[in-house]
Structures are given as structure tokens and as C-alpha cells.
């Protein structure tokens, strides 16, 4: 890299700095180190080593400290006020991988569910692993509808990088040939169970615009040599993924990208390192490094590099930018457009339907498939038949069928030998569909720095003011009704539609806080994820998203990251950074 002599004089100098070690930080680290750059990865949380630091991964139910592995209500109240809102994230088994809210406070002008994991690997360790490409339609929608700003890239720009990422991470799924849900490079799909196959056959026959496919997941079902060489193996269908996988069967930074980066010899990983701001050389108009506060000792250190990747998650990346003020950037780093911290999006969920599925009492299944079924978007696809007059964009469903176990007996009358015999058998088949809806970008859905409330390190905290609007609310009605319609079409019984409520953030897909765009006046990043006003800083996490699509976003973040690193290294070699 350029200026070796200059940098050699510097203490703590690297070719590249990556802030964050989650799903995009891991990718940036892998790509940068494999291209020969000495790379420092700064992670605000503690070290989590693959395999070694998954303390609950192989625990049997009877090894739990608490009933059913649930945490005492008093603990939940004291430490997990927000983190428990999902209903599934905080248990005795998962506790090591989620923050305590009392240690990491923030302010909610309106309810905002900020679910966080501060540790090496970030939330790539606990993600739901659902993996879908955005479609051409997703990249064109803003421009076509006059919403917010246009994406500066199109599907074709990202397609080769989807291929590239998918080959490495491993994605199990079924090709469907849909323009609005492009196929990935798939490893063999997981199997549907009897009732899911019934649902698929009936719905596709009776409602021709619907397609039901098995969920697309970043699990290895036929590992490649490259994946095996990293110590990753085939999915064993334990469905305990959220504890960390002892087989390395699902993709995480810990199981895949960080080991790949480490084997290059170019990686330096520094946990417990909270990046508090970017350092700007006002004369050169370049970032020269970052300021770090040690989470354990409180010591402040500066690190320097030629190129910096912000991969700290949409919210924390925006926090770093807003907290990096200078004469050049009085409102936050790269924030000439005043868009940093705005346009917060998520996927709105918690609405759908469930039903009983009689007729398959003699059938069951074996293994705990860590996946469900997927129903791709079928509204507003650009044709007349799918057009809606009451809202823009659309939604997909995730769901599945199963037979409940003994837990169904926790409530209700009865005890003794008859109850025991009943609960020793699986319960009746039940099917559920839960919608994931696209949320539009709204400039006033934003986060701001709160200097009145400091965290334990004396750093400003965040205030959220985010809500869903009429478009999302109208969509939610359709999400409930369309789910009921499909369960009815399948001939299921006791079809119940419901909306259990949603707070922004609950989808754990926060994005949009430093959006890509064509115009520096209205966006923060350019088509290569460079900060418009400071080209050696790249932002490739969810912050970059110009619109949300309705599919799970991690694959797109990873593809954007790999593409941005490719650009950064080439640009750097050309002396353009």
C-alpha cells in the first residue's frame, strides 16, 4: 500500500481497519486480508472463539440451571427489558450472546426494539440464517415510485457478488426461477414435512400466483471442499443454532469468515475495543484512523489505516458517524446531507395466521429442521393482477407446520396417568404463517445522539423515534387476510388470523441510517459504499440500504461488503483513496 514509510512511523498503523466483527465485518476482514492487506478488526464486545466459547451448545434439557432453560422473571426484568421482547432471544442458553439492557441503555421516544449482541461475531452468531437475494424490482422500486432516493446500483451490479458470497457461505434451498426472488447458488434443499407439502400443493393449485418453497438458509447440506477445509460440517438438524454450532454448519463470522481471515496471517482482531469516532485529516480530506476506548480498562487509543470499513451494524455505525464531529463535518462524519441516522427501516412482522391441520395424525417427522417454509412476495409485482391500490411494495411469509410436544400441556386441566399418556404423544398438527413486510424509508424515522444520557463508558447514547406509517399498516391487514386465505385454501381448520403487535426493530433488521444514493445532497454513500465526502471510508452494513425489500437482508449486506472491498483495494492500488 501507499506511503509505507509514513505509516511505518506511525504507531498502531494498518493497511485497513474494520469496525465490527459481525456478518459484514467478518466479510470485510476476509476479503481485505485475502487481498494482502494487514487488517485490524475492532470489536466492541468480548472475544467469542468458534467452538471454544459456545458454553451451552451441547447442553441437554436436564443440564439447565432453571426450569426449561428460562431465566428467572426477576433477571429478565432487571437486565433484559428490551432484549426479551422477541420472546425467544433471552434464555439461559442464549444469554451469553445478548447484551444486558441495563448496561447498554438507550431512549425510546416511541417503542424501538434494539436487540444486540456485543461480542466477536456479533449477531452473525444468533441470526435466523434465512438467506434471500434482493430482486431487480427491489433496486428499482424507489425510483419507479418516487420514494426517497434511487439506489445507485441495480441487481446486475450485485449479482456476481451474490454468487461469490453464496459459494463461500453455503446456502441450502430450492431453485424456483422467480424474477422477483432470484435463486441463489444452492446446496440441496431441506425437506418439507407432510403438512407443508399438503399446503404447497393445495395453495399453488388453488391460488395460481402463489409459490411455496422451503426456506433458504445459510446451512451446509453438502459442504464444499473449501467449507470442509475451514472445519465446517454438514447440518445435523439439532436446531440449537442460536447457542453456536459445534459443527460449524451454519454460517457465522466465527465459523467461517474470521477463520478464513486468520489463516492469511494478515488479521489482527482486537475485542473489547469500542470505536468512538473517526479521525479526519481536514487538510487531506481523508480519514486517517479511529479512536478506540477499551471496554475493560477505559484506556483510549488511536489506530491508523489507509482505508476504513464501518461494519458496526446500522445503528452503531451511524452512532460512530454522528459522534465524529469536526470543522469539516460539524453534524457528524460524512453527514453533509443530514441523512445519517435517518430513514431507519426494519421488516415489520408479528402478523399472519395459524390453523389446525387434521388428517395427518399417523405422520410425524424425525430431526429438528432449523428452517421453515417460505412464501415469496406476490403483491405489486409490476403487473395488473398483483397490483394493490392500498399500499406500495409487499411482503413474504415464513412459517411451517409441526406437532407440538409436551409444552402444550403446561396449561389446561388434567393430571395423572391419562395426562401423562396424552403428553407422551405429539399433539395435533398446527400450521402457521408469519409475514415479513417491507417498510418504506421515512426521513423522520431517525436516531439522534443523546448527550444527556451517557453509558457506562461516559459515551453519548441513542434516542430512537421510529414508527410504521399508513403504508405498513395497510399492508399488515393484507398480511393477515392473505395468510388466512391460504390456510383456508389448503382445507385446514380453525384458521385464526392475528396481529400480535410490532415495535420497529423487532425484526432485528435495522437498516438505512447512512443510505447509498446518486446525489451527495440526499445520500451518505455512493455506489461503492464510499462516504461521498470521504472516499477512504466505506460503510457496508445495514446502514447502507436505500430501501428494505421484504426479504431477510444479511445476504445483501455481505454481497455489498465483498463488492466494496474489491473496489477499495483496486482504488487504493490506483492511488485513488
Amino acid at each position: 500500500m501507499a506511503n509505507l514509510n509514513t505509516r511505518a512511523r506511525r504507531k498502531n498503523g494498518y493497511d485497513a481497519i474494520v469496525v465490527g466483527s459481525g456478518i459484514t465485518g467478518g466479510w470485510a476482514a476476509k476479503e481485505l486480508t485475502e487481498k494482502g492487506l494487514k487488517t485490524l478488526v475492532l470489536e466492541r464486545g468480548r472475544m467469542v472463539k468458534h467452538l471454544e466459547d459456545y458454553p451451552t451448545a451441547t447442553m441437554s434439557p436436564w443440564e439447565a440451571q432453571y426450569p426449561g432453560g428460562r431465566l428467572p422473571p426477576a433477571d429478565l426484568k432487571a437486565h433484559y427489558r428490551v432484549q426479551q421482547r422477541t420472546g425467544y432471544t433471552i434464555t439461559e442458553y442464549t444469554r451469553p450472546f445478548f447484551v444486558k439492557d441495563d448496561e447498554h441503555p438507550y431512549t425510546e421516544t416511541q417503542r424501538f426494539d434494539w436487540i444486540r449482541g456485543y461480542h466477536v461475531g456479533g449477531r452473525s452468531l444468533q441470526w435466523a440464517r434465512q438467506t434471500y437475494r434482493h430482486s431487480p424490482m427491489d433496486f428499482e422500486a424507489n425510483a419507479r415510485e418516487g420514494v426517497a432516493v434511487d439506489w445507485p446500483i441495480r441487481y446486475e451490479d450485485l449479482a456476481p457478488w451474490y454468487d461469490y458470497v453464496e459459494r463461500f457461505i453455503g446456502v441450502s434451498g430450492q431453485s424456483e426461477g422467480l424474477a422477483h426472488l432470484p435463486d441463489s447458488l444452492f446446496q440441496p434443499p431441506m425437506e418439507m414435512n407432510c403438512v407443508e407439502k399438503h399446503l404447497k400443493a393445495q395453495v399453488e393449485a388453488k391460488i395460481p400466483d402463489r409459490r411455496i418453497t422451503i426456506g433458504r438458509v445459510a446451512h451446509l447440506t453438502a459442504p464444499t471442499e473449501e467449507q470442509l477445509a475451514l472445519g465446517r460440517g454438514k447440518c445435523q438438524n439439532r436446531n440449537l443454532c442460536i447457542r453456536g454450532c459445534p459443527f460449524g454448519a451454519y454460517f457465522s463470522s466465527n465459523s467461517a469468515t474470521l477463520p478464513a481471515a486468520e489463516r492469511t496471517g494478515n488479521l489482527t482482531l482486537r475485542p473489547d475495543s469500542i470505536v468512538t469516532s473517526l479521525i479526519l485529516d481536514e487538510r487531506k480530506g481523508k480519514a486517517t484512523g479511529v479512536r478506540v476506548k477499551d471496554a475493560v480498562t477505559g484506556e483510549e487509543t488511536e489506530f491508523y489505516a489507509d482505508v476504513i470499513f464501518l461494519c458496526a451494524s446500522a445503528i452503531n455505525t451511524a452512532w460512530i458517524m454522528l459522534n465524529s464531529t469536526s470543522k469539516r463535518f460539524p453534524n457528524g462524519f460524512g453527514n453533509d446531507s443530514d441523512q445519517v441516522g435517518r430513514n431507519i427501516m426494519d421488516h415489520h412482522l408479528g402478523v399472519g395466521a395459524q390453523a389446525a391441520a387434521p388428517g395427518y395424525e399417523e405422520m410425524y417427522y424425525s430431526g429438528r429442521r432449523p428452517n421453515g417454509i417460505y412464501i415469496p412476495r406476490f403483491r405489486n409485482l409490476g403487473d395488473k393482477a398483483s397490483a394493490r391500490s392500498d399500499y406500495l411494495r409487499g411482503f413474504g411469509y415464513q412459517g411451517g407446520a409441526g406437532r407440538p410436544g409436551w409444552e402444550r400441556g403446561l396449561n389446561g386441566p388434567g393430571f395423572g396417568a391419562d395426562r401423562k399418556a396424552e403428553l407422551t404423544q405429539p399433539g395435533p398438527w398446527a400450521v402457521r404463517l408469519g409475514g415479513f413486510g417491507e417498510m418504506l424509508p421515512y426521513a423522520d424515522n431517525r436516531m439522534t445522539l443523546n448527550t444527556a444520557l451517557k453509558d457506562q463508558h461516559g459515551l453519548p447514547t441513542i434516542t430512537f423515534d421510529v414508527s410504521i406509517r399508513d403504508n405498513e399498516k395497510a399492508m399488515r391487514k393484507d398480511m393477515r387476510l392473505a395468510a388466512m386465505e391460504m390456510l383456508d385454501a389448503a382445507g385446514f381448520k380453525n384458521v385464526i388470523g392475528g396481529d400480535t403487535g410490532y415495535g420497529p426493530g423487532l425484526g432485528i433488521h435495522e437498516m438505512g441510517t447512512a443510505r447509498m444514493g446518486r446525489d451527495p445532497k440526499t445520500s451518505v454513500l455512493n455506489a461503492h459504499n464510499q462516504v461521498h465526502a470521504c472516499r477512504n471510508v466505506y460503510v457496508t452494513d445495514g446502514a447502507a440500504m436505500t430501501s428494505a425489500s421484504c426479504v431477510n437482508p444479511s445476504l445483501t449486506y455481505m454481497a455489498l461488503t465483498a463488492r466494496a472491498v474489491d473496489h477499495a483495494v483496486a482504488a487504493s492500488r490506483r492511488g485513488e483513496l
Binding site: T58, S60, P61, W62, A64, Y66, P67, G68, G69, P72, P73, M190, E191, N193, E196, K197, Q236, N237, R238, V351, Q354, E362, M363, Y364, Y365, S366, G367, R368, R369, G400, G402, R403, P404, G405, W406, R408, L410, N411, G412, P413, G414, F415, G416, A417, D418, R419, K420, A421, E422, L423, T424, Q425, P426, G427, P428, A430, R432, G434, G498, T500
Partner: protein, 191 residues
């Protein structure tokens, strides 16, 4: 949305198995020696309960989840499991509800039969529990017996005995097979 949360599923087997239980309970009262002749003793040291409460609980959990063709709650260590949960898990109001409930069981046994709960016959004990179960159905959020049953079911089915001998447990399934005849598997999966 919580998956697979359809409550109160109708059981096709209630009538048949209910009849079996009645016969079993009757047989127990006729043939087995009265429990009163040999006071049971605890084989574990309670942390949150008095000895009397622990003895009552130990008897109750075995009636709630009895040994049948597979081991029951006593063999699975459910009473000490609940005692530990009372000491470390439950909120104070839940602890009080369960402890008071155990005292109520004792008082009701004295009032009805002039004996400790543990000294009653299985039929007499079952009679009392049926009463509590009917009350709990009316007040599921506040009745001690609803809590006791939840704790017993959880303790039993998550125990090694309950999960592996009464249910089926496979820590590492390997493959997923989506459509398998029930008779090949036989029982519900523990997890």
C-alpha cells in the same frame, strides 16, 4: 407469533385412559398397604420448603405425573427440581403461592380425614388434587395447583428420565425426515 401454540387440544384418548386410571387408583387403595403405616421420608434436603411441605410436594408430583409403563415424577427427581426452582427461579409471589398451596393441601387433608396429606390413601390424595385441578381451571393464573402442574410437567419432561424414557430424545439427529409414520417413532420428541 409463537409457533404451534394451539392450546387445549382435544384428546381422543381421554375416555379410554381415564377408565384405566380409575381402575388403577381403586386397585391401589384395596391392595396396597396404607401409606399411614410407614411415614415416607425425604431422600433430599429442601432449600426453599419445610420438610412437611417437601413431603407433600413429593407425593403430589408423583400423582400428577405417575410411574406407569415408564418412570414417574419421583424417579425423575421432580420435587427437588421444584424446590430448587423455588429457591432460585420463581418470583416471591410465585414462591408464596406454591408454599401456601402445600400448606393448604395439608390443612385440607387434616380437615377432611384427620391425617397428613402424605398419610392419605392414593385415592384420597387424588380426590383432593381433582378438587384443586377444577379450581385451577377457573383461576389458571392465580391458583397454586396450576403452578404446581406447570412446574411438575416442566421438571418431568426436561429431566433425563422424562426426556429419554417417557419421551424420545435425540441430541444429534443428523438427518431431517419430514414425513415419517408415527408408529416408527412411537412417542413425542422431547425437544
Amino acid at each position: 407469533m409463537r409457533p404451534f401454540d394451539l392450546r387445549n387440544s382435544p384428546s381422543r384418548r381421554d375416555a379410554l385412559i381415564g377408565a384405566g386410571l380409575s381402575f388403577g387408583a381403586l386397585w391401589a387403595t384395596l391392595i396396597l398397604p396404607s401409606a399411614a403405616s410407614a411415614q415416607p421420608t425425604l431422600t433430599w434436603i429442601p432449600k426453599a420448603l419445610t420438610s412437611a411441605q417437601a413431603l407433600t410436594l413429593d407425593a403430589a408430583v408423583e400423582l400428577i405425573m405417575p410411574a406407569t409403563d415408564t418412570p414417574g415424577a419421583r424417579a425423575a427427581g421432580v420435587a427437588p427440581f421444584i424446590d430448587r426452582a423455588l429457591a432460585t427461579f420463581y418470583d416471591p409471589d410465585q414462591v408464596k403461592r406454591l408454599r401456601d398451596g402445600l400448606d393448604t393441601m395439608q390443612a385440607d387433608a387434616q380437615a377432611a380425614y384427620g391425617m397428613a396429606f402424605t398419610a392419605l390413601s392414593a385415592a384420597q390424595q387424588t380426590e383432593l388434587l381433582r378438587r384443586y385441578d377444577a379450581e385451577a381451571a377457573q383461576k389458571p393464573l392465580s391458583h397454586f395447583f396450576a403452578l404446581m402442574k406447570q412446574a411438575t410437567f416442566t421438571g418431568f419432561f426436561t429431566s433425563e428420565t422424562g426426556a429419554t424414557k417417557t419421551l424420545r430424545y435425540d441430541p444429534v439427529p443428523g438427518d431431517y425426515r419430514g414425513c415419517v409414520p408415527m408408529k416408527e417413532i412411537g412417542r413425542a420428541w422431547a425437544t
